[in-house]
Amino acid sequence: MSGQGEAVRATDSDLLDEQFLAQLRRQMVQFARMQLQDESLAEDAVQEALIGALQNAGSFARRAAVKTWVFAILKNKIVDIIRQRARMAEGVSLPGEDDDPGERLFDQSGHWNKEDRPNRWAEPDTAVKNEHFWRVFEVCLDGLPVKQARLFMMREFLELESDEICGSLEVSTSNLHVMLFRARLRLRECLDKRWFQEGER
């Protein structure tokens, strides 16, 4: 954070202030930890991504652009590590419990419980532009069993195919599908309760 940081700050002082960087770093480490389940690998990946990104920071007009850029770098790094693990057949076991929200959401005959029936979501496209929505999203993701959150983000954010996920983790295809289903049920329920049913913001 010395020479290089100074140069960046001199050209674009409040774009990359300490507070913004600290928050960005926190989000990145949290995500990398969840995906890699390895503290030092996660720290290294985040550090490299930040250094790589900050070299080009002067060309970004907005903080959101910086965030997108560093996450893109981090994403590639994590995908590389996951693929490497798969190649070396270092299947990493998936720790953690894995409860089934279906037991709660559906009645004995397999129908939605009355209070759990999905209602229509108003303006989901607007939500992604709202910073508070992302706080709620993070909380909901945190609320999932680690296993489910990790697989969901591997599939939907890192955009890995099922084969790759199963190759890098000790999980069968059918088990993966079950866990993705559970993650979706639960994440949908949480966003519904905490955001979409809360009315206008």
Partner: protein, 73 residues
């Protein structure tokens, strides 16, 4: 054979992972015709995918708070 909501939602999730069989598609389509809650779910499961893909594009409230000239114009 009629699919119940629990089975139908599982199929909608699976459809994002693998091609459904003809019988599965038929069962799902039939169920969706009759079930509004599951029709909502079918849209929302795609929204979840869309949200996750936007995970790193999330806006930063500080952009607006800082009143950057390029934020609005």
């Amino acid at each position: 054979m009629m699919k119940k909501c629990r089975g139908a939602t599982r199929l909608m999730s699976d459809a994002l992972e693998r091609p459904l069989t003809g019988a599965e598609k038929m069962a799902l389509r039939t169920h969706l015709l009759m079930c509004g809650s599951c029709r909502n779910f079918s849209r929302q499961v795609l929204e979840l995918r869309n949200f996750a893909r936007h995970f790193s594009h999330q806006p930063d409230v500080a952009d607006d708070a800082a009143g950057k000239p390029d934020a609005d114009s």
